[in-house]
Amino acid sequence: MSGVMPAGGRLTAREAGLASCHVCGQLARHVAHRALRCPRCRAPLHLRKPASVSTTWALIVASAILFVPANLLPMMTTSSLLGTQRDTIMSGVVFLWRSGSWPLAAVVFFASIVVPLLKILALAWLTASVQRRSRRRLMQRTRLYRLVEFVGRWSMLDIYVITLLVALVNFRGIATIEAGPAAIAFGAVVVLTMFAAMTFDPRLIWDPLAGPDDLARHD
């Protein structure tokens, strides 16, 4: 790793009236109230992701609501000679634990329950702190955002497990597995929290460090 020298003191692109392209990184002069495109790759240019705070809030609230049926409704129904059994996400974890595969039980518990919950809570805290223009724990909040972005995809795990169980356990008369309504709710939680992480703009965490003139100049 080699050091990078700050240019022009500690100026942000926004303070310099520049927007950086989210695709190719090109800097371009920003003109307020004008739809701009990157001169190099033609991607739409914004100082910050548009309507970041309100969109992220909407997605967080929607995922928090859907997280309830995702956990309460059955994820899958197993029909076998022994009868019919409905499993929620949690009872699936308990099943893995009891059958002795506790490392996998831990993985599924983490991916299906801890990660979505952590994402919802972390994004809610990040968005609220950005709204308050908090200047505290900037680095910790940036790291938390990176963590949320990184682990988010792993909560898709249970959706794939269900898909394979449904396809594999299809022995007519002996055993069949069907997906339950929780699969739809859970899939929606994963997608919505991923969108929430994408609409949140981590640069908003650092913006309060810029002078108040920065506030007045742009929306």
Binding site: T142, I159, V161
Partner: protein, 207 residues
Amino acid sequence: MSLTLPAQTLACHECDLLQTEPALAPGQTARCVRCGALLARNPPDSLDRTLALTLTAAILYVIANAWPLVGLDMQGRRVEVTLIGAVQALWSEGMTPVAALVFGTALLFPLLELAMILVVLIPLRLGRVSPRMAPFFRLVRSVQPWGMVEVFLLGMLVSLVKLSHMATVLLGPAFWAMAALILTVTLAGRAFDSRLLWQAPPAGAGA
């Protein structure tokens, strides 16, 4: 305001701080002085390595989709599933949104990502740099977060453990191809230097 910027000035995509990008030796990376975000990398021999790895990944992708992934043997009755077969099973059961989600994240987006990287890199390797490639690269960037083959592989392992008590579990050729695909795609991502796309055509490549 007439601020003139040095050519190597860039803004951190995570905290917006302006800074100059140093000349990087092969293998070096530049990080933001304020928040530590990765700003630029200079992987050695980037274009050739990325192209070779992505072509390998494309072949592995075909194998991973054409052959059965996993199978189950239950008292002589055998079931084998391919990736698309698993999606179809879910679809025919009425779980259309979930089937579409699996189709997109495990099949379509990884394919789009590979295809778009090749569409961008092959002309670049042949010395043809065209601004018309930019939209394809933008597409790569937007589908990348949605390709989740590595999560799918872990999902397969979990479901096989769940079933191992009731039937004999079989691993198909596509299972190993998918594991290799994940490895090559990861290596290709590490070898890739996106700055290649935006720099002037290399010397001797023609105008």
